[in-house]
């Protein structure tokens, strides 16, 4: 079956612009995570959704970052007033039911802020 997909695969934007990154989880998976990965580092937790609700958003770095999952499937990570330090690979992962299960990762969106 289809895995987790993320669009766009690459995004180049200018400092101060707004960007949206999309994640399509595996069909039927209720748990969804967003991570940010900088070069040479492990993924850094941003937010966890269980269904439509954000069960843990403690990893969002500041109020420029926001994520939604209105129908419990597709999720969008939104970044306002982008800064050069936001440049990274943004990864999405889903799992069937909950947080302790195997996470299936997407290929990531490579964001470059000029």
């Amino acid at each position: 079956g289809a895995g987790v997909s993320q669009t766009p695969s690459n995004k180049v934007t200018e400092k101060g612009k707004y960007v949206e990154l999309r994640c399509d989880p595996i069909s039927g998976h209720t748990a969804l995570y967003w991570y940010r990965q900088s070069l040479g580092q492990g993924p850094e937790f941003l937010i966890y959704f269980q269904g439509t609700g954000a069960a843990d958003d403690s990893g969002l770095p500041n109020d420029r970052f926001f994520a939604v999952r209105p129908e419990g499937s597709v999720s969008t990570l939104k970044i306002q007033r982008t800064e050069r330090g936001d440049s990274a690979v943004y990864l999405c992962a889903s799992s069937p039911l909950g947080a302790e299960e195997t996470q299936y990762f997407g290929p990531g969106t490579r964001l470059l802020v000029l």
Partner: protein
């Protein structure tokens, strides 16, 4: 502060030369420890989950073990296709859903 440390940062092995990767953790309470493999330009791929000290899991040339302070990923007779970055991650018992990842070990297996 909850922390996950992986060593070595990078490892070069000859094909067939067995070795171990280390993941040590200092956390308030461990709910589970995960090993992932990540190839360049791709998302991490799940390998193993370990939940309690003494637990072991095996898959092909890989074997993961867990103690109260660390986990090892043993690679037996590696092949060039095992070259990748190996990441470990923990999830805590403290009511958070946050995963904490280590920085990974970059493994290169030479033919």
């Amino acid at each position: 502060e909850d922390q996950v440390t992986q060593s070595p940062e990078a490892l070069r092995l000859q094909e067939g030369e067995s070795s171990s990767l280390n993941c040590s953790y200092t956390v308030s309470g461990l709910r589970g420890l995960f090993w992932y493999r990540q190839d360049p330009g791709k998302g991490p791929e799940f390998l193993f989950t370990l939940y309690s000290a003494g637990e072991e899991k095996e898959k092909e040339r890989l074997k993961a073990t867990l103690t109260k302070k660390e986990s090892f990923l043993h690679i037996t007779a590696p092949k060039p296709e095992d070259s990748a970055t190996y990441l470990c991650a923990v999830i805590l018992t403290s009511g958070t859903y946050k995963y904490i990842f280590g920085t990974g070990t970059r493994l290169k297996v030479l033919a």
